[in-house]
Symmetry: C2
Subunit: 109 residues, 2 copies
DNA sequence: CCATTGTTTAACATTCGTGTTAATCAATAG
DNA sequence: CTATTGATTAACACGAATGTTAAACAATGG
């Protein structure tokens, strides 16, 4: 329950959100690569990565001197489950997506 | 795109998250009712409501001297759409939910 | 009118978040 | 062993967020 709030908090920062999307697009990446092109010190990125780790959104793997990061599915699950559990509040405002969802009565409430 | 980050930010606060859940559970409620039992001044709640409003997560309706709040589905949609678009990253770690989802190949990617 | 009720805004204090640079640490190359 | 590379942690500065109380405001009742 607190995990969900931590996930929201972690993702509310543009730099961290970008990191998460990068990891989703490119698979696992070392901290150094994630620091590239963000106009920010490596130290700052390192702390952002720590926040993401503590929020359960990313995994860290050690490879020699590198720390290689990847998406941690369980972390995203908290958000997905909450979203799905509140489905009734947003499905009404969906267009194409709403139509598709309405056909699927097996979706959990 | 910024709306999504604002939504995450707004929901990352426990008080605001509780307010949103209250509105989901009880339907629309006046600001005064939302301030009850939170151990916090009405002024503080009023500002939390302003944040939720600016994040597009709640609607405000005027009824005489009361301000009546309700969930704004479009706000939640941003989160739902993002979650669904990243479905591949969390569905693998789902148990019951994962099974259900795997059957539904019409779900948008 | 004037007082009351419901809510918001203003001013202020304090805590939290985030960036910087410098120091530290671990792994590897020479 | 020492220097280098990759990354994190420490110490610090500063702006943003959040709570408080007091003031302001709009609607309603007397």
């Amino acid at each position: 329950m607190n995990t969900l709030l931590d996930a929201f908090s972690a993702l509310s920062d543009p730099t961290r959100f970008t990191i998460v999307e990068q990891l989703m697009d490119h698979g696992e990446l070392p901290a150094g690569d994630l620091a590239q092109g963000k106009g920010m010190s490596g130290a700052a990125i390192s702390r952002h990565l720590k926040v993401l780790r503590q929020a359960g959104l990313v995994n860290q793997r050690v490879n020699g001197t590198q720390r290689i990061y990847s998406i941690r599915p369980e972390g995203l699950r908290a958000i997905a489950e909450w979203t799905i559990s509140k489905r009734q509040f947003w499905e009404a405002s969906l267009d194409r997506l709403g139509d598709i969802l309405q056909e699927d009565s097996s979706w959990p409430t």
